[in-house]
Symmetry: C6
C-alpha cells in the first residue's frame, strides 16, 4: 500500500475528524483488498442502521487518538 499516513497532526478538529474517517476505512481495505467486493458491500451497509452506527463507533475511536495527538487543538487560535 502506498504512503497514506505520515502524521496525525491536522490544522483543525474537523480535518482530524476526516482523518479518523479515513483511518476507519483503510482497515477495511486491508482486510478486503478487492475494490469490486467493497463496492458491492458499500450500498448495502450504507442502508443498514447497525452498520452505520458501528462505522461511527470506529471513527469515534480513531478520533480520540487523533485528538490526543493534536493536544485537542487547544493552541489553535
Amino acid at each position: 500500500m502506498t504512503t497514506w499516513l505520515t502524521t496525525l497532526k491536522t490544522e483543525t478538529p474537523q480535518e482530524g475528524y476526516d482523518l479518523a474517517v479515513k483511518m476507519a476505512r483503510v482497515a477495511i481495505k486491508m482486510t478486503q483488498p478487492d475494490a469490486d467486493v467493497r463496492d458491492k458491500l458499500r450500498p448495502v451497509y450504507a442502508k443498514d442502521a447497525d452498520a452505520l452506527i458501528a462505522s461511527s463507533q470506529v471513527v469515534a475511536t480513531h478520533f480520540a487518538t487523533v485528538a490526543a495527538a493534536n493536544n485537542y487543538w487547544i493552541e489553535t487560535p
Copy 2:
C-alpha cells in the same frame, strides 16, 4: 461538507455532550450522504433498542474525547 467542527471546547459538560451527539451523527452522514435514505432509516432504528444503545455507545466514546479536551470542565465555576 461545510465547516462544522472548529473546536472541541464547550462552556459546560452538557454542551460537550451535545457536541458528542453531533459528532456521532456526522460519521453516519459521511457514510450515507443521502438525506432521504437517512430519513427512512431513522424511525426504524429509533424503535430498535440495540441500535439506540449502540448509538449511545458512540456518544460515550466521543464524550470522553470532548471531556478530555475541556479538562473535564474542572475550572468551570
Copy 3:
C-alpha cells in the same frame, strides 16, 4: 432539553457510577425523544441479555470519563 449535566464532579465513586448510568440513558432519549416509544422498548430490552450487556458497556465508557474527571476520587478520605 433542560439542564441536566452541569458538572462531572461527584462526591463518591458510586455517585459517579449513577451519573454514568444517567449519561448512557440521555443519548437514548435524544435519539428517541418519544417517551411512549421508550416505555415500550424498555421492558423488552430489560429481558434481553445482549441489550443489558451492551447497556452496561455504555455505562463503563461513561464511568471511565467521570472517574478521570474526579481524579478517581483519590483525595476522598
Copy 4:
C-alpha cells in the same frame, strides 16, 4: 441501592479485576432490577459465547479505569 462502591482502590490487580466484574454487573442490575428475571437470563447467556465475550468486554473497560485509579499497582511491593 445500598452503598457498594466507596473506592476504586484495591490492594492487588486481581482484586481490581474482581471489582471490575462487579461494576459490570451492577449496571445490569440497575437496568433490570428484578432478580427473578436476571436469574432466568443468566443460565441462558452463560451458554452463549457472544454474550460471554461481550461481558468480558465490559469487564475490560471497567478494569482499565480501576487500573488507572490504582496507578497500575506500580507501587505495590
Copy 5:
C-alpha cells in the same frame, strides 16, 4: 479463584499481549464457571468469525491497560 493476577508488569510487549489474552478469558470463566460448558462453547465460537473478532476486541482493550502499566515498555533495551 486462586491467585492469577499479581502484577501488570511484563518483560516484553509480547508477554503483555499474552497477559491480555489471559485477562480476556478469565472474565468468561467467572461468568461461566463450568469448564464442561466452556469446552463445548469453544470449538463453536472458534469457527465463528464474529466471535473471534469480538474476542480480539477484548484483548485489545486489556492490552491497552497492560501497555500503559508498563509505560509501553519504552525503557526496555
Copy 6:
C-alpha cells in the same frame, strides 16, 4: 508462538497502523490456531460488512495504544 512483538515503537504512523492490524490478527490466531479453519473463515467475513467494520474497530483500539507508545510520532521530522 514465536517472537512477534518486541516493541511498540515504529518509525511512522503508517507503520504503527500496520502493527495495529497485526495485533488484531494475532488474537484471532491464538483463539483459532488452526490455519485451515482461519483460511476458510477469511473469505466469508471479508465479504461481510459487519465483520469488516468490527475488525476495523479492533485495529482502532490497538492503534490508540501504539500511537500513545510512540507519543503520537510528534518528534518525527
